[in-house]
C-alpha cells in the first residue's frame, strides 16, 4: 500500500522539516520504502513552499503526485493552490490558526488544528510543524508514533534539551489527530 502526502505552507513554517522528519524516521525505523521530494525553485524566495512524502511497502514510482492521499496546508495560499491535488476521499489537514477559508470540496475529510496558536501557547512558536506532524500521524497512523518519537530523538541528538518540548508538541498534535478520527 502506498500513501502519499503533500505538505505546503510559507517558507518559514517548517514544511520541509516536517516532511523530512517523517520520511527520515520512516527510513530509519521501518523497512518501508519512503521518498521525500522537496519542490525546489520558488521555495527560497518567499511564497509557498511544499514537499511530498510517499510511504509504501512496495517500490515507489513518482515521488510526486497531483492526486495525493493527504494534504497538509499551513497557510491560505497553499490551500488555494493545492486543494485540487487532493484525491477524492483524501484527507486535508489544516492549520486553522491561519487558514480561514471555507473548504469548498465535500468529497474529502478535513482535520483542523490551530497549530500556530498552539505552538505560540507552548512557548515554542517554531514547533507548529511538529504539532502538525502529530496531528497527521494521530489521524492517519501512516507510521507508528514510536517511529516519529525516535525520529525526533535522532534529529535533536546534538541538542538534547530540544527533545522534550518537541515530543510534547508532537504529542499535543497526536491527541488532536486521534480525536478527529471518525
Amino acid at each position: 500500500m502506498e500513501r502519499n502526502l503533500m505538505i505546503a505552507g510559507f517558507g518559514g513554517q517548517g514544511v520541509m522539516t516536517m516532511g523530512k522528519l517523517l520520511s527520515q524516521a520512516t527510513c530509519d525505523a521501518t523497512d518501508l520504502n519512503v521518498t521525500f521530494f522537496p519542490s525546489y525553485g520558488a521555495a527560497m524566495r518567499g511564497g509557498t513552499s511544499n514537499c511530498y512524502v510517499v510511504i509504501s511497502d512496495e517500490s515507489i514510482g513518482a515521488p510526486v503526485s497531483d492526486m495525493v492521499d493527504d494534504l497538509v496546508v499551513m497557510n491560505g495560499p497553499s490551500l488555494q493552490k493545492f486543494i485540487g491535488d487532493l484525491k477524492a476521499g483524501g484527507t486535508l489537514f489544516i492549520n486553522s490558526s491561519i487558514v480561514k477559508d471555507k473548504i469548498e470540496r465535500d468529497d474529502i475529510s478535513v482535520v483542523s488544528a490551530p497549530v500556530t496558536e498552539m505552538a505560540i501557547d507552548m512557548g515554542n512558536p517554531r514547533a507548529l510543524n511538529i504539532i502538525m506532524l502529530g496531528v497527521y500521524i494521530g489521524y492517519t497512523k501512516a507510521v507508528d508514533e514510536a517511529v516519529i518519537l525516535k525520529g525526533i530523538e535522532h534529529k535533536f541528538e546534538k541538542k538534547q534539551k530540544l527533545i522534550p518540548p518537541n515530543i510534547e508538541a508532537f504529542n499535543k498534535g497526536l491527541e488532536i489527530g486521534k480525536s478527529q478520527v471518525k
Binding site: M44, R45, G46, G47
Partner: protein
Amino acid sequence: MEKVYKKTLGVLPDTVSGFCPGCMHGTVHKLIGEVAEDMGKLDKLVRVEGVGCCGLGQFYVSCDETIAAHGRACAVATGIKRSSPDSLVYTYQGDGDLAAIGLAETMSAANRGENISVIFVNNGIYGMTGGQMAPTTLLGMNSTTTPGGRNAEEHGYPMHMCEILNQLTAPTYLVRTSVDTPQNVIKTRKAIKKAFQNQLDEKGFSMVEIVTSCPTNWGLSPLDSLDFLRDKMFAEYPLGVVRDK
C-alpha cells in the same frame, strides 16, 4: 497635497516582485525604472538580464527584455546595441554572472568600449542557487561551497571589478554605490542616470556596481544584513567614483 513619490511605470503595476524581504534587487529594479521613466526612455529601454536572482525580475519590469545565458549579458548587449543603436540597452547582472562565468565577456565588452550600461549587483554571493561562493565573497564569509568560510589560500581573494575594469582604456564611467540609506539610494539613482546618459551621448561603456545584501543567503534579517553590508562589504568595496571621463 501632491504626490511626491510614486511607483514607477518601469515596473509592472499590481505586481509584487519575487525577491526576498529586504532584497535590494528590488530597490535597483525600481531605480532603473524611475531613471528610464524620468528620461522619457521607457519605450526604448532594453533589459539584458543576467542569470541570478535578477531573473525574478523578469515578471516585474515593464520594458523589452531578453535573458542572456549566464554570464553572457555583455555579449548579448553588444549584439543588440550594435544592431539597434537607438535602443537604450542595459545589462543587469549579479556578481556570479558578471565576475565569474562572465568575466571575459564583461571585460572584453568594456575593453571594446561597447556603448552600453552595465548594472552590476554585487551581493557577495550566488543568491539564486542558494548561497555558493561568488568571486566577491568576503574572506571568512561562509558559503555553501566554502564551509568554514572563504579562505585566501584555497579560494583566492574578493575581486574588485571597478578597479579591474579601470585598467582598461575604453570604459567611460565606473562607479560603486549602494542602496543602504535614502542618501545612497539617491546617489545610485544618479549613477544609473549618468550611465544611461553616457549611452545616449554615445560615450561608451559605463558600469554601476551596486553593493547590496542577500539577507536570505547571508542568513541575516534584512536589518542585520544592512549592518553587515556597511561594516564588512563597504570595507572591502569602498563606494565612490572610480572613473568618470
